[in-house]
């Protein structure tokens, strides 16, 4: 077992971090203030990200990505994760891997423009009545000859406002299983502008200013069979095969922001003087720093190990859940303690801490709540014993 990064990995970290610090950080204040990314700025940063080979670098080389192994990809995600989410997601986009599951025609129509930065993708699964319980979805697609007709509502759909199309998961039937009836799900590509498909503004939320979510409404929206992604009734299989590592992506981006918050806390503890000495000399502060650093290292190691196992094809669901659970909770703890160390100053928007603290909140909810992750971990423990 060895833990050293390769020369390439070190360089990937270096390039990505320099880009994030030099090109993304300077725009953060504006986005925090306005909650909006002006399109001229997006275009300029996209062009710079493409020049640095960072844009869509998560993708394989054959389709114009960087062809990174899982660990290198996670290191890249960690560095991007330091910055405002809307900035890095929009300007250094990582198109969903699920686009690779499409037919050649679908890749040409959807993947290629995403790689070129001409458009963005979005994924629609969640419904007002179906969050963690995805199979409880009520939006449907019924077959009509060779066509499908979509009806229902999806919400919390990230980035749907700027996306040119949505990958939508719909119930297309039911099957009998030993544990009762289960819904069959099918994934579809739906272009913006398709009659019967409406995208409405979603909710304003506490985390990630500039990030948007939308409500997607389908009212007798007719799609040809060629819009099916993967096979009919096999939507979950496509999702499981191609979206496997998204929990690790969330973990990695959290590690980046946690590291940023910790660095602020360490610097402040060394600089700030009260009662005639550095506040870092008070055990009340120094022990906090020690705990923050230790927890962060644990979260890093869990994530890298899961990434390494993902690459070896030996990763388990629990491995990825542990990484996601730990990284998101450690980020929350570090953001909170970094503010505590800064005192009142930590709450002011002069420093990125108040936003890291706000942004941390969603991470314990999306891509599976902390409770769902714990469920997955405990299930893996108990199942062999008949639990």
């Amino acid at each position: 077992m060895h833990f050293a990064l390769t020369e390439e990995q070190k360089m990937i970290v270096e390039t990505t971090r320099s880009f994030v610090e030099n090109e993304l950080y300077p725009h953060e204040d504006e986005i925090e203030r306005t909650g909006h990314l002006p399109m001229e700025m997006v275009r300029e940063l996209q062009a710079k990200a493409m020049e640095a080979g960072l844009y869509a670098a998560n993708m394989p080389e054959e389709v114009g990505g960087a062809g990174l192994d899982t660990l290198s990809w996670l290191l890249y995600e960690k560095e991007l994760g330091r910055a405002n989410y809307a900035l890095h997601w929009t300007c250094v986009a990582r198109p969903s891997n699920i686009l690779l599951a499409g037919t050649d025609e679908q890749k040409e129509k959807y993947l290629v423009p995403c790689m070129k930065g001409e458009t963005w993708d979005c994924l629609a699964m969640t419904e007002p009545g179906a969050g963690s319980d995805l199979r409880g979805m009520t939006a449907t697609a019924r077959q009509d000859g060779d066509d499908f007709i979509l009806n229902g509502t999806k919400h919390f759909i990230s980035h749907a406002d700027i996306a040119g199309f949505a990958i939508v998961f719909m119930a297309t039937g039911e099957e009998d299983t030993p544990r009762g009836k289960k819904k069959l799900i099918t994934a579809f590509f739906v272009d913006k502008g398709t009659p019967g498909f409406t995208v409405r503004d979603g909710y304003r939320n506490v985390s990630h200013r500039g990030y948007t979510n939308s409500v997607l409404e389908f009212d007798e929206c007719r799609l040809p069979k060629s819009a099916v992604l993967g096979e009919v009734h096999k939507g979950f299989q496509v999702a499981n095969e191609w979206l496997g590592a998204t929990r690790l992506q969330v973990a990695a981006t959290c590690l980046g922001r946690a590291d940023r918050a910790l660095n602020h806390a360490v610097e402040y503890a060394a600089e700030r003087r009260q009662f005639g000495q550095q506040i870092g000399k008070f055990q009340g502060v120094s022990f906090k720093l020690a705990d923050m650093a230790t927890e962060l290292k644990a979260a890093n190691l869990l994530t890298w190990e899961a990434g390494w196992k993902f690459e070896q094809d030996t990763v388990t669901e629990a491995d990825m859940s542990m990484a996601k659970l730990k990284a998101t909770e450690v980020l929350a703890m570090i953001a909170d303690e970094a503010i505590q160390i800064h005192g009142g100053m930590g709450l002011m928007d002069e420093l990125p801490l108040e936003r890291i603290w706000r942004d941390a909140r969603v991470e314990r909810i999306w891509e599976g709540t902390s409770e769902i992750q714990r469920h997955i971990i405990s299930r893996e423990l108990l199942r062999p014993l008949g639990g």
């Binding site: 360089m11 020049e51 960087a66």
Partner: protein, 252 residues
């Protein structure tokens, strides 16, 4: 034309340096090391010459400890075609002095026959600012130092130099040695696809002994100290007192 770019592995410019307890130098154990920023500018300029069709090949060379291989990989990831590592020390704390570096570079030049050597004007660790000039003397080549603009025009190079109080433009005969200054260009990011490709580019490993150069130190470091801590300021009641104080200190 082939361009040779010497690059040095130095302490990263963002690192807060710490002097070793015995004062013999700066502590480099477990410290982040990077390519000397002036050398990065030289690599960038060489790649731009290649992109402009004025150079065919860019060869990066580093002289130092084995770990300088990482620095060369960065040069390759930026766009250099191949690299030569000359191992001349085992201990990361041993600096290889400009004359030894220049002697080794002279041998590399003899072997490689570049039309241009593009080097950083100095390394940010010891600020010697001597290697390029010494190499010029050893080879009997022309030199243009502190370049903020380089224009290769056939067998001449027109170089704008940043000198005290202004700019000076000179024309030198090729082959030549140009040492670059901060404002020459803005180095690119090593792009992710190029980082992945860099591994496949050739990197030859040599030693100082291969070139018959003795790289052992001639200079003795007597003492290394940190800059003096800034003194606390003093608040004065009015402008008159301020002027009086400044006069007292001989500043105005």
């Amino acid at each position: 034309m082939k361009v040779l770019v010497p690059v040095k592995r130095v302490i990263d410019y963002n690192v807060k340096v710490r002097v070793k307890a015995d004062g013999s130098g700066v502590d480099l154990a477990n410290v982040k090391m990077s390519m000397n920023p002036f050398d990065e500018i030289a690599v960038e300029e060489a790649i731009r010459l290649k992109e402009a069709g004025k150079a065919e090949e860019v060869v990066a060379v580093s002289i130092g400890v084995k770990q300088a291989q990482e620095t060369l990989r960065t040069a390759l990831a930026m766009g250099a075609d191949r690299a030569i590592l000359v191992v001349a020390a085992d201990d990361v704390h041993q600096d290889i002095e400009p004359l030894a570096v220049a002697k080794i570079l002279a041998k590399v030049v003899e072997e490689e026959q570049p039309g241009l050597v593009l080097a950083g004007k100095q390394a940010i660790d010891n600020d010697m600012n001597a290697t390029g000039q010494m190499l010029s003397a050893l080879l009997g080549w022309s030199q243009a130092t502190f370049a903020s603009k380089v224009n290769i025009d056939g067998d001449k190079a027109v170089v704008t130099r940043e000198v005290d109080g202004g700019l000076q433009t000179i024309k030198v005969n090729m082959p030549t040695i140009v040492t670059v200054d901060l404002r020459l260009n803005e180095p690119r990011y090593a792009s992710l696809p190029n980082i992945m490709k860099a591994k496949k580019k050739p990197l030859d490993e040599k030693t100082a002994a291969d070139y018959g150069v003795d790289a052992s130190p001639r200079l003795e470091v007597v003492k290394t100290t940190e800059p003096e801590a800034r003194q606390a300021g003093e608040i004065v009641p009015d402008v008159d007192t301020l002027v009086a104080k400044l006069k007292e200190k001989g500043i105005v």
